[in-house]
Subunit: 506 residues, 2 copies
């Protein structure tokens, strides 16, 4: 490889790109023999630092002999504006050739997968290279060994929670909706004497994520050592995983998959299992809701995924149980952080026992059976006992206190002040409730940014309702948002929901 080196002047731009990118005038690029997306090494003789960047070229933005760089690059080099730097072409990292290998349909070794994950983590691959990798996996998927290798690489690349025993349990829901079963399962499992350090996500397009709902009750942004300490003390936490740097490369891969909604099975499994491995979980229940409006559409697909989860778990020394659940209906009647949190607390307080409570006990029961606490077939009963006895509530309040309590009971959880009840206009029967449309309505009312805003359903599928009977209630922080939500509920575009819930009433 040619090793031509050119002296240039540093030209920093005041912007953080989050990527190691350098910009050269097209003529300089030609002189160096590099094309856009090739790599150069920039070194600063004064600071004796050097860095490898992906090249972009321009004909207008930069004059010749200037090495343009974003803040990230400038900081790492410690270089000043106008200072002399040395620029030379360098070969792409080896991982680019591994990506090409996968593009060509060949399976990757553990070492190769580790190199790709490492370079993604270090921002050493361009977006185009990263997209090439994601496309390759979409086409060829992973075999079992590759899935295991990807799981290990993803979890080992980030921080890891480590416990001195293996009684660490966890749960995960693939394409979940609303309801927050997690906030019932975690205290049941912790009350049963196990560790369950649960990291959750915030909402992106739904009305609330588990982290958003839990944040109504307590602080969810905790550092990793605090999470370990609380788990050791009270048995469980429910925190936001977003800022924790557990398997951080997973988030980068998900970002790239997003535009085409690419979700190769192997990558989904590695992604979930890596996060479970990162918190040291040894017993995991995977909730697979099946339905036309959720991620997994058919029983066949759910079964295929279940088998793969179990196989990967085996290779990693983890015991996995995957459970198909009903994804055709909302898994709770509330949509919005506070509304869902209040609903969960009411279940823990013994004030209601509905489908969400039942589902939570079944999933917790699976975990209790898996870890050997109880005989097969008796897990749900034990979970219910822990719930109805009030032990789960007590444990939940310990967890909330340990995380810095905001609200300890359902009484402490308030709804947004402006509300509107939507009533049935005729008699009839509820035939379908579209979860996505409910979430959308809650978002229009302000959720999840307005924590107390959202939607409460008074009915479920199969209910017979009478004219004038309330079917749902919208809560919002101000009249404008309430008006927006009500207006949307009336518009054709949202009528999908009205058609379904209200077609016999509105």
């Amino acid at each position: 490889m040619k090793q031509y080196t050119k002296a240039m002047k540093a030209r920093p731009f005041d912007i953080e790109a989050g990527k190691m990118i350098a910009i050269l005038n097209s003529n300089d690029a030609k002189e160096l023999g590099v094309l856009p997306l090739d790599r150069i090494q920039i070194s600063c003789p004064r600071t004796r630092k050097k860095i490898t960047c992906v090249v972009d070229t321009t004909e207008t933005m930069l004059k010749e002999n200037m090495a343009g760089m974003f803040k990230d690059v400038q900081k790492k080099l410690g270089v000043r504006r106008g200072e002399k730097v040395m620029v030379q072409p360098v070969a792409p990292p080896e991982s680019v050739s591994f990506i090409k290998k996968k593009l060509d349909g060949h399976a990757l070794s553990e070492k190769e997968i580790r190199a790709i994950v490492h370079d993604l983590g270090q921002n050493k691959l361009s977006e185009i290279e990263a997209a090439g990798f994601v496309s390759a996996v979409y086409f060829h998927d992973y075999n079992l060994e590759e899935t295991v290798a990807m799981t290990k690489a993803l979890s080992q690349d980030g921080l890891q929670l480590k416990f001195d025993h293996d009684k660490v349990l966890d749960k995960h829901c693939i394409g979940g909706t609303n309801g927050r079963a997690t906030m019932i399962i975690v205290p049941i499992i912790a009350a049963a004497g196990y560790h369950i350090p649960k990291t959750s996500s915030r909402s992106i397009t739904s009305a609330a994520g588990t982290a958003d709902s839990m944040e109504v009750l307590a602080n969810v942004s905790l550092p990793i050592d605090k999470i370990k300490k609380i788990t050791n003390k009270v048995g469980g936490v429910i925190v936001w995983g977003g800022a924790l740097e557990l398997a951080p490369v997973d988030d980068k891969i998900i970002k790239i998959e997003h535009p085409f909604a690419l979700d190769p099975t192997g990558q989904i499994i590695a992604s979930v299992m890596a996060k479970k491995a990162s918190v040291g979980a040894k017993y995991v229940v995977i909730d697979l809701p099946v339905g036309p409006d959720v991620k997994v559409h058919t029983r066949e697909r759910a079964e295929e995924m279940a088998k793969k989860f179990i196989a990967v778990g085996k290779k990693l020394g983890m015991r996995i149980e995957a459970v198909m659940t009903n994804g055709t209906e909302p898994s709770g009647r509330a949509f919005g952080p506070a509304l869902e949190a209040k609903h969960v607390m009411e279940i823990l307080e013994g004030k209601r026992f509905d489908a969400l409570a039942q589902k939570s006990c079944e999933l917790a029961g699976v975990l209790l059976e898996l870890v050997g606490k109880v005989k097969k077939g008796k897990g749900t009963d034990m979970a219910k006992e822990i719930l109805v006895s009030g032990e789960a509530l007590k444990k939940m309040q310990e967890i909330i206190k340990a995380q810095g309590a905001y609200a300890l009971t359902s009484f402490d959880v308030k709804y947004a002040p402006f509300k509107k009840i939507v009533k049935a206009k005729t008699n009839g029967e509820i035939s379908k409730i579209n979860v996505k449309k409910c979430a959308q309505l809650a978002r229009m009312a302000g959720a999840p940014a307005d924590k107390k805003a959202g939607v409460l359903l008074f009915v479920e599928v199969g209910d017979k309702v009478k004219k004038g009977q309330p079917v749902l209630e919208i809560h919002a922080e101000n009249k404008r948002k309430l008006g927006l939500a009500v207006e949307y509920a009336k518009k054709d575009r949202v009528i999908q929901m009205q058609k379904i819930i209200l077609e016999k009433f509105s």
Copy 2:
């Protein structure tokens, strides 16, 4: 789709990104319900302009309620720093779903391909979406109809040369090396009475592109109307195609293919044919050098490509002949813009008739047969006649003058002043000459940026040489570069060349 709109403050960044990208604080993105790589519309109430951008998010770069935008976006909106803009999520362009369709292995319609090319041209697709498209084509390639549709879409998306007759000829070389047969073929064809408006590329990794060599003789950066005028007047031009906006999207696709060296056959063919269609060519000869160090490695691959070129041409009303040539040796003895230009002029002046001259006459002959000027099998003879009679030289000088002459004869072309002759150290026979290594050596001497720098070979494969006999000559603009080249020629890493040319001598 939700239509939540948020008022924000414009925060322009002083940098041209060449892409329509907006930057939002992660919290604002969450409030709007958009993920990185989703799209938002930004509108400015004052200027009444609006624009769709791909979203990137940040937690550090921007505070909440700021809509970050690069210069491109700011200019189009005409917005001032701090001014109020309205931001709302919008759906991705339809072309993203067409890309997904191709990713899933389905053939695309002409309309769908046109939409993708249009959106690539308008920078409406993110790099990741563009990379997804290129990967999809790499996996599934195009069928004949898709190749034809891509060719049309690429050429119609850019400027087009139009002539009022169909006697427009052209040639193209797939993965060519050195030698510049184009600069011999164009004057032969123009002298025979046909139009041949040849657009050429500059060097990227070779010692010179045709545009670089022609630029030693004349101005190659001409606007499209001038190209048409000169072609109508003298029959031909040899210009740089880079700034002409002929099939501009092709360049974008090639850029994305580059990191993985992806080159699906259908895309190569569409790329070449689009540029030919853009200049109005009706008769085209495709030169396919075959050899281990050039783009096409086997006869089978060359035959497959030849058939596809001919089939696509038929659908577009173009007559194509594809010719396999020997790609195992340099197609000329010179490397570097001026050295290659001088060599070509010496052939046109009748001072030498070597392998390059023979190849040029054969390719020109194919064109003369294709257009019906001469009976099959007699084309080469006619081309040679035009060459040896001096008609081609006369025509070349007309072309050079029309393009603003810098040099009219081989005498006017000078080499760089510092030179070093490399001699054979023992007796022996030349077994192989590695074209890539020759080009690299010329680049070390300064080519193509230093137009007069380069390498001249005195031998060809099969030549018997004696100890002390010159085998090659290096020219450079200064002692430092000459020293660099000589030093590299001695180093192990460049010794590949010595091993090959010089293994019996050094």
